[in-house]
Point group: C2
Chain length 367, copies 2
């Protein structure tokens, strides 16, 4: 069957960093991360949420370690999950040391919010001994808070330059301690600042980059900001692992993350991918209802196929032929395509049945 | 107040093309388009939908003109709306001539699906006389259908190259007729092919570009694909007008389109923009509920402000200070910020009231 050659970006070359069983960078597939929002010390709730995240396709999971109770829970959490576990540390280096001792697979910290240099260095040495990486996470909020420039009325702060400069200082410092198991993130709350920061850092080191937008906001805005920034960077070849931040259930972050990877051509869609047109005055059937029915019935099938559901004969046959199986409506008649060939015409009310029969037939042939 | 300088891309230089009251290209703001999905000949329904689209922020509207009844309805539709009206034509050049005679502001067609060259040329001449532009819309589906390569088993079709080559042929042809009021679109159903096609054409002519992904699919997939492709291109400075294609009510297309422009730094958010964190084990309040309450109550206010609602003291104060007004929770206490300054601490249950009072106070000062 004819297939378009989907262009995929040339990926930025990055160093490979191992996070437990998952390698980040070094040309490996871009992984999807998330973060629990249960109290970490509530082990059962946290482990339960991690299992749900893993089931949704999360590949690396992070938990906040704000206090001793959270640190004390890490070993037990680690023993009950399969995903690589990342400890998120702020302010207290002693919690990072406890997390490393508990066997976490990575530590995420911002050296700028640990007061004493020797405390940061103790964490770097401990990570080195344990053979685990550190993500240096510089967020726009923390850079701003530390510089204090937020208070300078009318000051024009070039936040992106500040974030990049700060990150490179930390990198040089860690390297001076002979530590190179580093992942970097530079998240801002605007998509454009985030993109600018990652583009700049991408050209100035070879450490793998963890992409994300901080404080992306509620539901739809957060999804769109993240898709623009993360997807746009991936489309330029930048990024080794991603985390979509959405306020709410973190499982949604994983779904959106995977869809961003699919859109960026970095992941084969799991299951059936539906192409459908927006419909217009040309369409004489309730296409949204047909799409919804196709989606519902095909969603349960464990096959990887492209299925097109198109409302009219303008682009319909072309798109339908591009998909593995497709239907294009001509008035109230559906034209069923498979493998680029018109198979037959079927009345509208039988069109989804016919589509599903054909999907079933083709997936049976494949396996 | 300290403000980050949001990086905005250097825009590709494009020729200005006038579509009724809206100018596309030439450095003008990127406009948001949509397309009705009522039967065009049903004038009341079509006009009603156009009014709803305009209210949502749509700036140019397109209607399908598949038959004589639709063409006959255009003059009446045009007389009842304020938005520039675009006629979407396929196959029949006579319908394009009727649409132009009816006073539409632009014609969209794909010269490849009108059989005779002289028929296309008659439309180009008529548009020239009427002083209206033509969008040459080359979609992956139509290119594929025309080349017939879909049937060549195992053929590796470079769809993007085909789309670009075909578009440039049409452009040269129109130019040979001394017609230059041209807008171009090259929509594919994958985000990466779409981006590749627009990137290539962007470097090879100066006509304004109408961005979109064709057959983007149902709801969430469509939103993410469109945000990645359209947002990614805009972030590279490419694109003069956009249309998000989603299966369903076209009003959603306008909302998503506007949010993509906001994310790409090309549009000031209307109303209140909420920054919020994803929450983690550090957060001791139900932040999603606070965000939802803030969103609901602030959504009604006609002020353009950034408001941060952050769950903890890690990035909270930084992000909250970056916003015009913000609150960062420290345990069950909220720290209220405005203009980069900590104003006061308030208990969790009063935090949204305090936030809204402050927003109100600041918006009163502004006007």
């Amino acid at each position: 069957m004819a297939r378009m050659t989907t262009p995929s970006p040339e990926r930025r070359k990055s160093r490979a960093v191992r996070v437990g069983t998952v390698t980040v960078g070094g040309g490996r597939p871009v992984s999807v991360q998330s973060m629990t929002n249960t109290p970490t010390a509530a082990v059962a709730a946290t482990v339960g949420q991690i299992h749900r995240l893993a089931e949704a396709g999360c590949q690396i999971v992070r938990v906040a370690v704000p206090d001793d109770d959270a640190a004390a829970a890490l070993a037990e959490i680690k023993s009950e999950i399969a995903l690589p576990l990342v400890a998120d540390i702020h302010f207290r280096s002693d919690l990072a040391l406890k997390a490393i001792a508990a066997g976490v697979d990575k530590v995420r910290l911002n050296p700028g919010n640990i007061r004493r240099r020797e405390d940061v260095e103790a964490v770097v040495r401990a990570a080195g001994h344990a053979g685990i990486p550190i993500r240096i996470g510089v967020n726009s909020g923390s850079v701003r808070a530390r510089t204090g420039e937020a208070r300078a009325a009318e000051a024009r702060v070039d936040l992106v330059e500040l974030m990049v400069a700060r990150t490179l200082e930390y990198v040089a410092w860690f390297e001076s301690l002979d530590f190179r198991e580093i992942v970097l993130s530079l998240k801002a709350s605007s998509a454009m600042s985030t993109m600018a920061a990652y583009r700049q850092i991408a050209g100035r080191c070879d450490y793998p980059l963890h992409l994300g937008v901080t404080a992306a906001g509620p539901a739809e805005e957060g999804v769109i900001k993240s898709a623009v920034a993360i997807g746009g960077l991936l489309a330029e070849g930048i990024g080794d692992t991603i985390r979509v931040s959405l306020t709410g259930d973190p499982v949604a972050e994983v779904h959106v993350g995977r869809q961003i990877l699919e859109a960026a051509g970095l992941r084969e869609p799991a299951g059936v991918q539906i192409l459908s047109c927006p419909t217009c005055g040309r369409c004489q059937v309730d296409l949204a209802a047909l799409v919804e029915e196709a989606r519902r019935r095909l969603g349960k099938m464990d096959v990887s196929l492209k299925v097109a559901v198109m409302g009219c004969v303008v682009n319909g046959p072309g798109e339908a032929a591009e998909a593995d199986v497709g239907v294009a409506m001509a008035g109230e008649t559906g034209m069923l395509f498979a493998g680029g060939e018109l198979l037959r015409k079927v009345p509208a009310e039988q069109v989804i049945d016919a589509l599903i029969d054909e999907v079933r037939r083709r997936s049976a042939t494949r396996t």
